[in-house]
């Protein structure tokens, strides 16, 4: 087995002697003998590096990964986008990978500046003034947005559109058991949220475009929020944002989202990236870390984590968020990819996804028995209702070489359907073959 412990037996003996000890066992004198584990761990002995790698290669081979043999049309918050070589190389630099949280800013300017650039890019993408240095994923960003809104409003009811990803809503519900927040599901009507009239919500949470891929009317959502003195929280698709007016432009108080599309592979769902941006007036309630610019003792530009008094290690039981470790490396990756895409590339990326989705949607809806789940406009993801159960379609399509999409969760309230995402990677030939295969499997 490999050992990452450098000490030789002679080293260990010398160090023990220095401590006045004669054996390793004497290190454990403060542990009651009844608690000492006799016989060591019930875990197999270590494997050599090549044997370990072979074992995990075997596990990888036991999956069917997305690629030429399983062409990906699945999305639902996890997208098969291109990751450029430059991003892979830069994001894997060990200075970023093996750094700690930047608590000593004098030796952490690299991570701090990368996060400052990330915050700037996310703020511009969402049309808001300030973004934090990341949360865990889309779901945790929603949880924190609700916590912020409830703390600011002093009311605990939040209206949550059923167009928000089902797993994000479930996660919010899990954590609401602790905070006591009252999350009220709001139904979709033909693909977009139908806000109720009465009630006193602290906030509205809507996804843009939503889980069905439909573009929600944010101006209407803002008006409903205003009528109730409530905040507007918007979960944005950061890729579609390349073509859509920003959440901030529609008056959102908080924008959250899943940053995985920018440089992070599908990764079986993690680590992903929780995007979180808000208006400056809410900055003192911002969850997680925030990097700010300042100067060093010689007046040179420098970066540092700031407004630290918001954070759990200082506020302790008065904290409104317990986030400590976040997703810094994924945020740095996102920043690098957004800079690689740049002003023109993000728009082109969004356009290409939208064109592919339109082409695939037209193809599927031309098939006998395939209906749209909703008629509201979609951008880069859409839901169709096949004539056979959509889980069956997904299973049969595996044999055709496609991950056909994600069956709709019943909590969306839109009935059965297949959620289909098309990224810039999908060629016309792949889409044609996909549509032809769907036609075969629904017969």
């Amino acid at each position: 087995m490999p050992s990452y412990v450098p000490h030789t037996d002679a080293d260990i003996a010398a160090m023990l002697a220095f401590c006045g000890l004669s054996s390793i066992d004497e290190l454990w004198e403060t542990i009651p003998s009844a608690l000492r584990l006799a016989g060591g761990l019930d875990i197999a002995p270590g494997l050599s590096e090549p044997d370990t790698l072979a074992r995990f290669e075997r596990l990888g081979a036991a999956n069917r990964a997305c690629g030429p043999d399983l062409v990906c049309f699945a999305g639902a918050g996890a997208y098969d986008h291109e990751i450029p070589s430059a991003i892979r190389r830069l994001a894997n630099r060990t200075e970023f990978v093996t750094a700690y949280t930047p608590y000593q800013p004098e030796v952490a300017q690299g991570v701090l500046q990368a996060l400052f650039e990330y915050q700037t890019l996310v703020a511009r993408l969402t049309g808001l003034e300030v973004a934090n240095a990341s949360l865990y994923d889309g779901a945790s960003a929603c949880v924190e947005a609700v916590n912020l809104a409830v703390a600011a409003a002093g009311r605990s009811t939040v209206w949550v559109s059923r167009g928000v990803h089902p797993t994000w809503r479930e996660t919010m519900r899990t954590f609401a058991a602790g905070t006591g927040h009252d999350l009220v599901d709001v139904d979709l009507v033909d693909g977009t949220t139908a806000w109720p009239a009465g009630g006193e919500p602290a906030a509205l949470l809507v996804q843009y475009p939503n889980h069905l891929g439909c573009v929600e009317d944010l101006a209407a959502a803002r008006a409903v929020a205003d009528a109730h003195g409530a905040m507007l929280l918007v979960a944005v698709d950061p890729v579609a944002a390349g073509m859509l007016r920003s959440a901030g432009d529609f008056g959102a108080d908080v924008a959250v989202g899943e940053g995985q599309p920018f440089g992070t592979p599908l990764s079986f769902g993690g680590p992903y990236l929780g995007l979180f941006a808000c208006r400056l007036e809410h900055v003192r309630r911002l969850p997680g870390r925030l990097v700010g610019e300042t100067v060093d003792a010689d007046g040179r530009r420098a970066y540092v984590t700031t407004l630290r008094t918001r954070e759990q290690d200082i506020r302790r039981e008065k904290a409104s968020s317990n986030v400590c470790t976040n997703q810094t490396l994924i945020a740095v990756t996102c920043a690098i990819q957004l800079a690689w895409l740049g002003t023109g590339g993000l728009r082109e990326l969004a356009r290409r996804c939208a064109r592919g989705a339109r082409y695939a949607r037209d193809g599927l809806l031309a098939l006998d028995g395939v209906e749209p789940v909703a008629t509201a406009p979609t951008i880069r993801e859409f839901a169709v209702r096949p004539p056979v159960d959509s889980a069956t379609v997904v299973d049969r399509m595996l044999e055709e070489g496609f991950l056909a999409g994600v069956p709709l969760d019943e909590s969306v309230g839109a009935g059965d359907g297949l959620l289909v995402a098309v990224t810039e990677r999908r060629t016309r030939d792949e889409i044609d073959a996909y549509v032809a295969a769907v036609e075969r499997v629904i017969k």
Partner: protein, 505 residues
């Protein structure tokens, strides 16, 4: 031992002291790095792709740089960053050990990295097997019954554990009456914050003069309104809670549950187990004990393991081994629900799984043996140079105090920390735990050689003899000098755009 032979992990950061402009300042209109696949997908006018009221007029202004400039920029930023691969990080409570490179290769395997999280069970058998085996290993290490791998970080694991606690008491008709969670005054800040977010009130229990939980004071605080206690063992002073069995008995007697904060698990692998101590709920920081790299602050992974009676409350879906030898998902019947968008930080879990496989049970035990030996050696070596508030056998970390130096010459813990940066080491954790004045919490970990640990001790000894004036100016050899944190908060500049507008007050 401090002779010239042997590898040392110390280095003053390599980089020059030149300021690096932001990527926005490097931008030049029309320059680009992007390129996309040729797809043959037909064109549509943009106004047919996006409804009129929602179409963006101008593209999002991001940056406009060539790939060459982009690579140079982020490479230069990386040169302004200290990291484990450059040198030792003796940060107490953070377990900044070396991250084996084989784990990077595992996380990059296409068969793992390119799997969609919503893919059907038939296509994810390898992932499910990996997760099931990791869960089993973590249970073997902690002495627990079953685990969830969903929590993406330690704090998320804590909150998950508290929600499991609440679900248990709710099912026993006591959610309304059990309102308090006890935590020691030496606890990590995430503990009280998690307690609050779990909907509980914090009751603090003091430490006694040995640095352990004051058992008499604990008993005074125990009643039937206590939901549970959160403990770290060894605690944040690096000391083993010797009365843990007595503590467990007392808490269980009033119907409370015991929560184990796994931040310090690196001390006890193969030596003792939280399950045997009486803990009901255990979270682990895979980015500490199991060598998942910290990534500059994340991503980590914070699995939670529980005793048998709490297994039915775990977040679902759980990966499980089925009777026919294949793998599938299982939703526990009284599940608290999901705590993550998908299945947790899966690639971080894969790194930890490969670390456990490579080390094996025997290797993991050696990890703790040497981690504890290194920390005890440091205590012996620096006793008399720094105050040792609790000078008795410690576990994987040791807490010193600069109180003696502050009294003698005005040298504070923060000065020691900043001077160490000049000496080529990352600083220890300072001013924590809160119950020790001028605390310097040092955790060398098992991966630092005797030569490195000796060099760290030599540096700390030199610093202790410094004049305070010299130390107040430190660090002078780092990419930037001491940073004005007060100004950053007073004149907030959280984005490049705020900078251009002169900062937002």
């Amino acid at each position: 031992m401090s002779g010239p032979a042997g590898g040392r992990a110390t280095s003053i950061p390599l980089m020059g002291r030149d300021e690096e402009p932001t990527v926005f300042e490097l931008s030049s209109t029309g320059r680009r790095a992007w390129s996309f696949r040729t797809t043959g997908v037909p064109e549509w006018p943009e106004d047919e792709l996006v409804p009129a009221g929602h179409r963006r007029d101008e593209p999002v202004p991001l940056a406009e740089v060539s790939e060459r400039d982009l690579v140079a920029h982020f490479t230069r930023l990386s040169h302004r960053q200290y990291s484990v691969d450059l040198g030792a990080y003796p940060l107490g409570s953070c377990t900044m050990k070396y991250n084996p490179k084989l784990c990077d290769d595992v996380a990059a395997m296409a068969g793992l990295a390119n799997v969609h999280p919503a893919a059907p069970v038939a296509t994810i058998q390898g992932w499910l097997e990996l997760l099931v085996e990791l869960g089993e290993s973590l249970c073997a290490i902690t002495g627990m019954h079953s685990a969830t791998l969903q929590p993406p970080a330690g704090a998320a694991g804590e909150l998950t554990g508290l929600l499991l606690m609440r679900a248990w008491h709710r099912d026993h008709g006591e959610d309304a009456t059990r309102r308090r969670v006890i935590i020691p005054d030496s606890a990590h800040g995430t503990n009280p914050a998690s307690v609050t977010l779990g909907g509980y009130e914090v009751t603090t229990v003091p430490s006694d003069d040995r640095g352990c939980v004051d058992v008499a004071a604990l008993r005074e605080r125990l009643d039937t309104d206590v939901a549970g206690i959160m403990l770290t063992n060894p605690n944040t002073l690096g000391l083993f809670e010797e009365d843990i069995l007595e503590i467990a008995r007392s808490v269980h007697e009033v119907g409370g549950l015991l929560y184990y904060d796994g931040a310090n698990l690196n001390a006890i692998l193969g030596v003792t187990r939280p399950g045997d101590m009486g803990f009901d709920i255990v979270h682990m920081n895979l980015h500490k004990t199991f060598a998942v790299p910290h990534g500059g602050g994340g991503p980590g992974a914070g699995p939670v393991a529980v005793s048998e009676r709490l297994a039915r409350y775990l977040p679902g879906p759980c990966p499980v081994r089925l009777a026919d030898g294949t793998f599938g998902w299982h939703a526990p019947d009284r599940s608290i629900g999901r705590v993550h968008s998908w299945h947790g930080n899966a690639l971080a879990l894969a790194r930890a799984a490969s670390y456990i496989v490579a080390n094996g049970g025997d290797g993991l035990q050696q990890v703790s043996e040497v981690a504890v030996l290194n920390a005890n050696w440091l205590r012996h070596r620096l006793r008399g140079v720094y105050d040792v508030p609790f000078d008795r056998p410690n576990m994987h970390e040791v807490v010193f105090s600069a109180t003696n130096l502050k009294k003698a010459r005005g040298l504070r813990a923060v000065d020691v920390a900043k001077r160490l940066l000049e000496e080529g080491f990352h600083a220890p954790t300072v001013y924590f735990p809160l119950i020790v004045d001028e605390a310097l919490m040092v955790e060398p970990t098992e991966t630092e050689s005797p030569e490195t640990v000796a060099a760290l001790a030599d540096a700390m000894e030199r610093i202790a003899q410094d004049s305070a004036d010299a130390a107040h100016d430190a660090p002078r050899t780092t990419p930037v000098g001491r940073v004005d944190e007060a100004r950053a908060a007073r004149q907030l500049i959280p984005t490049f755009d705020a900078r251009r507008s002169g900062g937002a007050d």
